[in-house]
């Protein structure tokens, strides 16, 4: 294995040499300088039994003799690499990389490093002198290189190594990092990202083919120092009295140092927190976490049972009461902590968006300054993952449609650099994510015209501003006159809204013409807990998700109307809403079939309203959602189960399904 690696290294070195130095002009000299290297390679390959490689090397040597050596060499190196690949594909070859667990760990860890170095690069771009960021980036590449080397991913190792070398020079102040250099480093990070996608066992966006080693990328990385130097020289030339500048810089530096010493900047404090966080993280199997959450929930139930035990209640002992209260507090705290362990911070997602804005800002030629707030806010891991797509879409929309072109901004007297703010905060038990730009805002005339054109609005109807704003969430709505490759394919905000609603969230919009637009995403903290309305039908208990409940009514005689003796409608607040009798759907004997003795629950799913007739409303309860397992996967109308306060299992209703197949209830 080691010898094989040696061969690979030799081929890579040859390839690098070819790329970096380029084939020398005279044909005779190429043959002279390269044939020796190729011969050694061939001999070694034969010794190691890598016949494909030996054959390829021999072929290159032969080709160089008979045809144009420069081009033969170009082709030949490619063929050598191919030969290496075939060797790698040899099933008899075993390596550490075939251990799925090791591989998964590698992908996970490398992804984390890539994410962190990406954000650090953006920090570095703002302040090229930030040695802390530079060191962090260096470390990340170094770690990835080490891991890749351990598992034998040559390509990753080579690229990471090159970048690391360049970064090391930057660290030693050989040159200053320019935006162009950051571009190259980012694209090498992207290259590594593609590799990880290829390697990840069940990636969502898995790439089918291994990304080939791009010589151009390597050349670019190699050129970074010289690029930077040139840029530096030009800068120096442009500033005639550079010495005075330098002095000013120095003075400024001294000033900032003083300030920093007095009060550590928020970023620094954050970095410190993050560093501490990194060292304290433990990866835990989610099954274990689930078990812990289960047990914590059971502890709360058991504690309630003990506390309300009639024998115990009779005891009037102050010490016992105090201890019981303490027990209650601790169990509640334990449950809360167990639940919180599933949460992750939204920071990485925000950093992804920062990167996106940077790329888009280049692409559109619109200078944009993006700020993020509340990176430390924590959300359910699944929500953060599911949020990536819709948020990306919204950011693109903001940059593409929201923010005006530079010239227009200038002529309007706005600052040339646009502002985008991404902010997360807690609000009333929810997390609110705010995306605002200072662009042109929604053009309500255009939206209304478009709505009329698409038939989304009846002609002649008068809509309020917020009703007009709502239109942009309708399917098939897109006002962009010109379809760009970024946004405006008509699969816009309606998809975003559906995504958000799937996460049990809501999306709101605030806009002021000429001032900008703000999108508010209101999301639950976690998908594992649901606020439910516990209702009773006969002796059964069901849980109605509270986010869909719009009202609770006790029907009067004139509330319920029968349509053609079959369907029932309820007249609520002047509109007719279909009624579903839950006891009928589920075949459960109710307390009473008379609707006036029951309760109507008005629910809304995907902007369609309907009523659910139940016997009674028992109360509001926060429950942990549990799957009913494969046994009941096909039961319509039930989304899952939950343990109620008395230890019984309650079934959570799937309102969407209940409503959709309201025609074919079980009538047993």
């Amino acid at each position: 294995m080691a010898a094989y690696d040696g061969l690979r290294q030799q081929v890579e070195e040859l390839a690098l040499r070819l790329v970096l130095t380029g084939p020398e002009s005279s044909g005779a000299r190429i043959v002279e300088t390269w044939s020796r290297a190729l011969q050694t390679l061939q001999e070694e390959a034969v010794r190691e039994g890598a016949s494909a490689l030996a054959e390829a090397a021999r072929g290159v040597l032969r080709a160089m003799q008979i045809s144009d050596p420069a081009s033969a060499l170009q082709d030949g190196i490619a063929r050598l690499q191919q030969a290496l690949e075939t060797r790698a594909a040899d099933p008899a070859e075993t390596s550490l990389a075939q251990d799925p667990e090791l591989l998964a760990d590698f992908v996970l860890e490398s992804r984390e490093h890539l994410a962190s170095l990406e954000s650090q690069l953006l920090v570095l771009e703002r302040d090229p002198c930030d040695s802390e960021a530079l060191n962090a980036i260096f470390r990340s590449f170094h770690t990835i290189k080490g891991l890749a080397g351990f598992l034998g991913f040559r390509e990753i190792q080579v690229v990471a190594h090159e970048v690391e070398t360049v970064l090391d020079q930057a660290r030693n102040l050989k040159f200053q990092v320019t935006p162009a250099a950051i571009d190259v480093i980012l694209s090498s990070a992207d290259y590594l990202g593609r590799w990880l996608n290829y390697l990840s066992p069940a990636g969502q966006n898995a790439e089918m083919h291994a990304p080939s080693l791009d010589p151009e990328l390597l050349a670019q990385i190699g050129l970074i120092p010289s690029l930077a130097e040139r840029a530096g020289r030009i800068e120096a030339k442009q500033a005639p009295d550079s010495q005075r500048n330098e002095l000013a810089n120095l003075a400024a530096a001294v000033e900032t140092v003083e300030i920093e010493e007095l009060t550590p900047s928020p970023e620094e404090r954050k970095a410190e927190v993050k560093r501490r966080g990194e060292t304290m993280t433990v990866k835990v199997n989610t099954a274990k976490l689930d078990y812990l959450v289960d047990m914590a929930g059971e502890l709360v139930i058991a504690e309630t049972l003990v506390r309300h035990d009639p024998e115990l209640v009779k005891v009037k002992n102050a010490r016992l009461q105090r201890n019981l209260a303490q027990l209650t507090r601790i169990t509640a705290e334990l449950q809360k902590t167990a639940m919180a362990m599933r949460l992750v911070s939204i920071g990485p997602l925000f950093r992804k968006m920062t990167r996106l804005v940077r790329d888009l800002s280049r692409q559109f030629g619109k200078p944009i300054d993006i700020q993020t707030e509340g990176d430390e806010i924590e959300l359910d891991r699944n929500i953060v993952e599911e949020l990536a797509d819709p948020l990306m879409h919204m950011v693109r929309n903001a940059v593409d449609h929201g923010i005006e072109p530079l010239e227009l901004r200038k002529s309007l007297g706005k600052p040339g650099t646009a502002k985008v703010l991404l902010k997360a905060q807690h609000q009333a038990g929810q997390v609110v994510i705010e995306l605002s730009d200072d662009g042109r805002g929604l053009d309500r005339h255009k939206i209304l015209a478009r709505g009329l054109e698409k038939g989304l609005v009846a002609a002649g109807s008068v809509l309020s501003d917020s009703q007009i704003d709502e239109l942009i969430f309708k399917p098939g709505f897109s006002t962009a006159a010109q379809i760009t490759n970024v946004s405006g394919r008509g699969v816009g905000l309606d998809v975003v809204r559906r995504h958000i609603e799937k996460l049990r969230g809501r999306i709101e919009i605030r806009s002021q013409t000429g001032q900008g637009t703000t999108f508010l995403l209101k999301l639950p903290l976690t998908l594992a807990i649901i606020d439910g309305l516990v209702v009773g039908v006969g002796s059964e208990r069901y849980i109605v998700p509270l986010f869909a409940v719009r009202g609770i009514f006790r029907p009067k005689e004139e509330t319920i109307w029968t349509v053609q003796q079959r369907a029932e409608m309820a007249l609520i607040r002047g509109s007719l809403v279909p009624v579903i009798r839950l006891y009928q759907r589920f075949g459960v004997p109710p307390h009473s079939e008379d609707p006036q003795k029951g309760v109507l629950i008005l629910a809304e799913v995907e902007s369609q309203k309907f009523c659910l007739l139940v016997d009674e409303v028992i109360g509001k309860h926060e429950v942990v959602i549990k799957s009913l397992g494969e046994t009941f996967a096909k039961v319509a109308g039930i989304a899952g189960g939950a343990i109620l306060g008395d230890g019984r299992v309650g079934l959570i209703l799937d309102l969407d399904k209940l409503f959709r197949d309201k025609g074919n209830g079980a009538r047993r």
Binding site: G587, V588, G629, T631, K634, V649
Partner: protein
């Protein structure tokens, strides 16, 4: 890796083979006594409150809360088309761990009462006689004779198999 594969093969062939000997938990259902492999049994509990799940066949009684886990429960009497009986003090739920479509799952079976754990040698076990198509021969591992009594050994994986449930579901619909 190859060694572990071989080991796995050995295990599966052992299970598939005729080594039915081992410890069995026996329980009563009507007048008959049945047995399931002790290895499959996770826990035995008294009947507790069961939450009915709508639109399921009658033998599926619903779900229970087993220390925070939601576990489906099946009434074996109804499953085997025996007349339903009221639950008594002796009625038990045997919680078993069976192979589902997506891995191991827990499943409860309601029985009239558990009897004992018996150690059966291969010689005690006979193949199921051919009853014709009527009886559910596919659920049976074999018959055991213990102290002059016959005990019916169940292949609990097949008895509580969810695919079966899906078919029943389809019929009900």
């Amino acid at each position: 890796m190859s060694t572990s594969l071989a080991a796995k093969n050995e295990i599966s062939s052992a299970v598939a083979g005729e080594t039915r000997a081992g410890k069995y938990l026996t329980f009563q259902l009507g007048q008959e006594e049945f047995g399931v492999r002790v290895l499959k049994v996770r826990e035995i509990m008294g009947v507790q409150e069961i939450t009915r799940v709508p639109q399921t066949p009658p033998h599926v009684k619903g779900v229970i809360n087993l220390r925070g886990k939601v576990v489906p429960v099946i009434d074996l009497r109804l499953k085997f088309a025996l007349p339903a009986a009221d639950y008594t003090q002796r009625t038990c739920i045997i919680v078993t761990q069976i192979m589902g479509e997506s891995g191991l799952i827990l499943m409860g079976a309601i029985v009239d009462g558990v009897c004992e754990v018996v150690n059966l040698a291969a010689a005690d076990i006979e193949d199921t006689p051919d009853f014709g198509e009527e009886t559910a021969g596919q659920y049976l591992l074999g018959m055991a004779k213990v102290k002059g009594k016959v005990k019916i050994l169940l292949d609990i994986d097949k008895v509580l198999c969810t695919q079966d449930l899906d078919q029943l579901n389809a019929i009900v619909k």
